[in-house]
Symmetry: C2
Subunit: 191 residues, 2 copies
DNA sequence: CGTCTCGTTGAGAGTTTTCAATGTAAGTGG
DNA sequence: CCACTTACATTGAAAACTCTCAACGAGACG
């Protein structure tokens, strides 16, 4: 069950089996079904999630009442509301399962203890966050570089698994436009 | 000269004066004048920068030949192309001084050594990157939540220093629209 | 079989961009 | 310090893009 996290850790850190076993004991397994929320707006975000199987998303409800997806997390991705998590303030986001999923959970206090007891894990999370930053930087670049149509096309080429897996409504809200407009783009591309 | 970094470090880590002195020895001071590039497209990005005084930006040239600014770095901010920096590939970005600036520089190899000799610094960078992620998440939220007009207004309220300090052309390219449209918005708001 | 959500379609309205022209501020060399 | 040059900011009109709204069809699920 913990295998994906184990592999993820080993790719970044040299760990003994013993140390790995101790580290993994800080995590709990959680099963969530489709559409279930792991976090809701106005709640404190005390946890960080690592996706074993399935798919999560982070979204918020905008001023017009529409859901806007800001992040997708597939297998072996971390997800949380980092701002709320670090500063212990209420979240402005929801974290929801797109599919039935299995995730690993670690609470804020447990993570603090983990980092204290196993300083190597500082390196692990440093690398994880550094990569997340790099991904965000490239995403800003993409958004800016391409028209919505090109952006959708590039995304579909690069992540066909994602496009075919998640509802178009969610994909549209992630790419930054309306479902109707996404429909129009798809038709345009088809012909 | 190193004071801003010293304060930044001390806010995150408990350091002895000796350890601080060793750490700081990994950095070099660099003076750049307005419009000077610290990084150019197609170069390898071997360095990471910390702004002491002045202001830097990261931008790229899009398919239409326009400059799009993806990141601004004022005093006590870190900036680099994280993707190119980590993977030792050529960058798609420029890093340029908006004003005459003084920055601290650390190279990729020096940083690896620093992290090895002073594992505490893993924690420092973990926190830095975690905050950068949180900032990126909130930025995605803002972009999605508000119309361009509202986005500009919110930004101007929140960062008046920035708005009054940098050329509108750059501000427009950071906020994601054309300078002409920014002009129009400003007039609209004025009246 | 109903019910609900999701995806599609089309028309009209609102937004943002493009392009070209003008005005203005700032930097440079004499 | 002035004259010159260049880059930046503004304006307006037309074109392009994207959204809203309302309606319909298809599939999922109880």
């Amino acid at each position: 069950m913990h295998t994906p996290l184990k592999q993820h850790l080993y790719k970044i850190l040299p760990l003994s089996e013993e140390e790995y076993a101790e580290i993994i004991s800080y995590f709990q397994v959680l099963t969530v079904s489709k559409k279930e929320n792991l976090l809701e707006e106005d709640q404190y975000c005390e946890k960080q999630y690592f996706v074993i199987t399935g798919c999560l998303r982070k979204f918020f409800v905008n001023s017009k009442g529409n859901e806007r997806t800001t992040e997708l997390a597939l297998e072996s991705w971390w997800i949380t509301d980092n701002h709320a998590f670090e500063h212990h303030v209420r979240s402005q986001f929801y974290i929801q399962a797109i599919e039935d999923s299995i995730v690993l959970v670690i609470g804020a206090k447990a993570r603090e203890k983990l980092l204290k007891e196993h300083p190597l894990m500082e390196r692990y999370f440093r690398v994880i966050y550094q990569r997340a930053c790099a991904a965000a930087e490239r995403r800003f670049r993409y958004i800016d570089d391409y028209s919505r149509e090109e952006y959708y096309q590039k995304f579909a080429e690069k992540y066909p698994r994602v496009v075919n897996r998640i509802p178009q409504k969610i994909l549209a809200s992630f790419l930054g436009f309306t479902p109707e407009y996404l429909s129009e783009l798809r038709r345009k591309i088809r012909s």
